[in-house]
Assembly symmetry: C2
Homo-oligomer: 115 residues x 2
């Protein structure tokens, strides 16, 4: 388990927040497949994803540019899966496209002593 | 439980991805306090947060503009808590500031029939 690694800004973030419905048969398999598939999409940089016990999930996928986002949006298998998401898996979602302007990271040094 | 509601773009997203360390004493209380506190910060719009069983968490806070992001960054209690985060709670984090350019939402109609 590690965090997404991205180049220096600017690049794009697709922020996908969702509420999973109770009708989630097949969701886990499809989510794993989409996470695999997006990584081979042209211009893909990295992705982070988390879902809590309250069924609220956030996936942030990072892309090089707008054209890369369109390529992923128009991917045939992604389109089919998205339709099933609306029909069955999600009670609600919000998708936001944002341009990353700056970024800061922190990584604990191995020898760090905690209080 | 509901998703963040935001006005029409443009506005800003602060994307905070983190890996929680095993030394998480006091983390849950501090996280709840920060979620309460940010909502009264000037220019704050909304926030979504999720953490999975693998300890990877994503919080996306939305703000009206850059000035609002600075106000939250410089909030005294937030600053103190951030220092404790680096000293104790997080093994790693990435913070990205991004300008939301467009957004789309989906919300299931109450009478929707699922396949």
């Amino acid at each position: 388990m590690d965090l997404a690694v991205t180049p220096d800004p600017p690049y794009y973030a697709v922020i996908f927040s969702s509420l999973l419905s109770p009708h989630d048969q097949g969701y886990a398999e499809a989510a794993t497949r989409m996470m695999d598939l997006v990584q081979s999409s042209p211009g893909f940089l990295a992705v982070d994803s988390a879902r809590g016990d309250d069924r609220l999930g956030i996936t942030v996928a990072y892309f090089r540019d707008e054209e890369s986002i369109r390529a992923w949006r128009d991917h045939v298998e992604h389109t089919t899966t998205r339709e099933r998401g609306r029909a069955q898996w999600y009670d609600a979602y919000e998708l936001r496209v944002a341009k990353v302007e700056r970024a800061y990271g922190f990584r604990r040094a191995p020898a760090d002593i905690r209080p």
